[in-house]
Symmetry: C2
Subunit: 325 residues, 2 copies
């Protein structure tokens, strides 16, 4: 999926690209992509990346913003270097408590110097060895719309932390206050609220880890099975922010009974996990197949949305329909 | 609750009331209420009685009929004699495969001789010792709107089998074909159908046993707790047609996690069962409390409605809201 906050830059040449690491560091760095490749261990990982507003279309009352249904999530294979290795090379000072991420995209208003987005994470999350500064996607140069030539990855947290066209990381001694770090952006009420409630953005809290979720990718909803055919191979993906999915269950009777699916472990941390199960439909007719993932903290996907003003974090179950003739 | 299909009779005098048992029996009987009291063992039982269309208001697309929300169910204490004892006294012939029930209510059209409703059950169900011919309700004469002076009870099946103003039971050698036994009344499609599907009534099948369900009776939805109060005592009832409820679980997070409730056994077969549990709300805010019952066949209440054309058998979970300040 593609989600941009500003106008993508015109210049994405990898040869002249420079990444600056500055702020509360002992040795500010300015690194070319060749420097990253040469000075640090290069790793390849599958990383699940999801927009915090994935599923927003299903909120009632509606929440403003991109009306994503289920597709604002993906799991590409990324190649790059560990953010933590680069931070160690820069020497993080003990005053540093937060990062600030910058890319070269520009504000939709066209005003020079105005940033479209600059997010950051607490130092504890920044030092996670699973964070990556990536220069390749699925074995090729990063696509221009996915942040060529250099992209940050803060896996498990909303995709907006994973800056595209990434050219600077600053270490700060305060919670970062860049665009989309303040106001209501990527924030939830501090406690559950009734649908439609207005909440003061000053009370709202930043979203950190995403939560357990699954998606049926096959069959497509509305499938009509050939006459007499009663078996459906259901396949999909499940993921759980900073956690691991420990089981996926399917139901064909609106949640009255459940069938445990086969679940693969993640090929590496922060990749989504595949599930599959052949489901037998007892007779002809209309069925819904729902998938429900559970994480290693024992948390399951809910059946309904806990409403919030900006329509974030909808991890309610994915439902598809199948007709048996 | 009260649900009538015709016009209640004007004469409900217990003194002159006669019940006829006829059709495929060795000894047709005509019994006064005094005869019932004197000739058969008198029993008192709590009996859960539910309309097959309870919950119809929540179908989408809408189903025609009474737009019941959750209230078309009750569990009064009834006193009377066992239907099976009376049938044995009449001597059921081996050709008898079905009952036909009649009351003295009259058709809404006012046409003399036209019956508003006459339902019946297979002989196997008719011989269940839990069926009752009742002449008292909650220790008093039956209320006129509940079928005074005599009422049949076929517990566990839709309330329409439990004829009010009951004055005749005929044993038949065919499946009974009285009003509301044919057409689409009290029938479901033979297989699951997509919402809005038209189904030929000739294909549809009669509803027999009702299914597992629960109802939160306290607190009322919308309760606002006093400031700082975080505990809510949740109470309610659960029932399961011909089966027994073995557990009730509550959720305050839309089904992500569950809390098992204390569940009482039924005081007698076919009574609903009480559940209760003190739920602790983790912080202030808006919560929904949902209850989910599971029966001794391992079947749970679903989270959504399996749609059917007449809007029967909605046993999806009951949801209430509570605000903690």
């Amino acid at each position: 999926f593609i989600r941009n906050n500003g106008i993508p830059p015109e210049d994405m040449s990898p040869e002249t690209w420079r990444l600056t690491i500055d702020g509360f560091v002992e040795n500010p760095l300015t690194l070319s992509i060749a420097d990253l490749r040469n000075r640090f261990e290069v790793i390849t990982r599958r990383i699940c990346l999801e927009c915090g507003g994935n599923g927003r279309a299903f909120f009632d009352p509606k929440a403003k913003g991109n009306q994503w249904t289920v597709g604002a999530v993906g799991c590409a294979e990324w190649t790059g270097v560990r953010l933590v290795d680069v931070l160690k090379a820069a020497g993080v000072k003990k005053e540093a408590i937060y990062t600030a991420h910058y890319g070269t995209d520009t504000h939709l208003s066209g005003k020079p110097g105005k940033l479209p987005i600059s997010r950051g994470v607490p130092i504890r999350k920044a030092m996670d060895p699973n964070n990556m500064i990536a220069f390749a996607m699925n074995g090729e140069a990063i696509h221009p719309m996915n942040g060529a030539p250099l992209r940050l990855h803060i896996p498990g947290w909303p995709g907006s932390f994973s800056h595209k066209w990434f050219n600077r990381l600053q270490l700060r001694d305060v919670v970062h206050d860049g665009p989309k770090m303040t106001g209501a952006a990527y924030r939830l009420p501090p406690h559950p609220v009734a649908p439609g409630t207005k909440v003061d953005p000053k009370e709202m809290v930043l979203i950190e880890s995403m939560i357990v979720k699954s998606l049926i990718t096959s069959p497509q909803t509305g499938l009509r099975l050939p006459k007499g055919e009663r078996e459906v191979l259901v396949r999909g993906h499940a993921w759980a922010g900073d956690n691991v999915v420990t089981r996926v269950d399917l139901t064909i009777d609106f949640g009255a009974t459940w069938i445990q699916a086969k679940l693969d472990p993640p090929p590496n941390p922060y990749a989504w996990q595949r599930f599959s199960q052949t489901v037998r439909l007892p007779q002809k007719g209309y069925y819904e197949i729902w998938a429900r993932a559970t994480d290693d903290q024992g948390r399951m996907q809910p059946f309904a949305i806990a409403w919030n003003p900006k329509g974030y974090m909808n991890n309610s179950m994915h439902r598809i329909s199948v007709y048996a003739s």
